[in-house]
Symmetry: C2
Amino acid sequence: MSIKIGILGYGNLGRGVECAIKQNPDMELAAVFTRRNPDDVKILTEGVKVYPVDEMEKMKDSIDVLILCGGSATDLPVQTPKYASMFNVVDSFDTHAKIPEHFAQVDEAAKQSGKVGIISVGWDPGMFSLNRLYANVILREGNDYTFWGKGVSQGHSDAVRRIEGVKDARQYTIPVPAALEAVRAGKNPELSTREKHTRECFVVAEEGADKARIEEEIKTMPNYFSDYDTTVHFITEEEMKANHSGLPHGGCVIRSGKTGWNQEHNHVIEYSLNLDSNPEFTASVIVAYARAAYRMNKEGMSGCKTVFDVAPAYLSEKSGEELRAHLL
Amino acid sequence: MSIKIGILGYGNLGRGVECAIKQNPDMELAAVFTRRNPDDVKILTEGVKVYPVDEMEKMKDSIDVLILCGGSATDLPVQTPKYASMFNVVDSFDTHAKIPEHFAQVDEAAKQSGKVGIISVGWDPGMFSLNRLYANVILREGNDYTFWGKGVSQGHSDAVRRIEGVKDARQYTIPVPAALEAVRAGKNPELSTREKHTRECFVVAEEGADKARIEEEIKTMPNYFSDYDTTVHFITEEEMKANHSGLPHGGCVIRSGKTGWNQEHNHVIEYSLNLDSNPEFTASVIVAYARAAYRMNKEGMSGCKTVFDVAPAYLSEKSGEELRAHLL
């Protein structure tokens, strides 16, 4: 009996979840739900239907875990608590500052329904968070560093697209090699925002647009660019399509710390990701946690969880014996 | 109320545990147990006593977790089940092939006593195992690679020391840079033993010993060296002491895999360690899992566990709220 997964929201992430389910033989895609007209949503899996979102409640008993693929700004704060009252759910809520509030709401709903809701799953928050936790409990005296990139930041790309005269834009976040090197060498540098990352923008300008003004507006944009060294390249639509249509990303979490009676020994722990497709990797993490949600709920657990609360063995379909024999 | 830790066995690992306890304010060292004459064992922590091992049972109620710092060959197979019948225990059992048997024996003892025993804690097995598991559940289609070093292998150093005419020896395991590079680039190479690691030996020969014969014996030693490219350097005792007295180690676990409907996207996950002191780092991992053993037992759990069975939040003394607010 495979685990029946529902997907709510069929954008890049939803499609990534669909692909990940295909790689997990103990799971099957049961349904995709959309707020669009279902006839307009073409999915990849043969024989699976697309339903309007308001038919979800009727399918309460034929879906084991619902994966919420909406955005953190407005979708998930409403959807995750709402659907945790009917389903085991997993989301990728990534507004760090609002996690406590989101957790409380999902926890209340999931405890009432007796379901499990796992929030903030992906790579950051998610795998990066886990690695921060593991590294911090091991190296008690030390410093944490997180670098992102090289990769496409969707938020920054959108910010550039909102500038007048910009037809399309792609923004790459890039770690500064010297900073990364100093951290990896255990030098524990204090790094300003500007010293950690640079930003590189590829912009398609509208015909006749003032490129100097666009470049100036990007470089001085508060929060997004003004604290960074930013490079702007104007390119053609064809170049954009040919060279910048992917969504690569990645980065690393490094903790450097000391042990010994007089802190005489230095250690560096690094977790790094190099991803061709940010949404597909995020989706692959989410699908593993969907298995955990299902299994934890089967064992009688309920309420809101994060990656910190999930014993790693729940993520695998293999038995404890198999895991100990082959992966330990 | 701090967690009271007992240490059995005061070698490099035991001393590392003592140092790690000092860095964890919610813990205290309650006692050190030894098979030697306690008067001959000088520990670092003021006011803490060293007891003969046969007095351990009397201290059942004043120790929350006993950390077993003996060897995997003969000590732990006996000690861990024996003491799991009285204490929550943590060990670093690292004979991969015998883990299933060890698990079963500790599980039986710990279930009977109602205690928790966490086995095979450290970095490999331990943190490397965890990262193999996490990476495997995320990237279902892919390849695993583990590289060790650059670092001192105690087993290989001992093997060289057993050769006639060798006064002292230190063996370093070193990953082959080209292999590491190909793996990190996502090329999924098939690598022979020789292509993955080289071995470098520093040897102090006894006066008048036949160095050519020693070098030949090292390079052709089955299992230990014959499958590797090995370099041998003869040095003086002074050089050995000055340049090779530490126990650095490290390595990395890499998984490279594909996602996408047609497996069109490649991803690389890497976890790497660069350690000045192998025993102190191992001890720091063990101490974090001692906290988990204590807390899981407080919640009513019992039996044998591995790192796969421990939800990460148990490793930290911080509350769920604090972890979500600061590390997620």
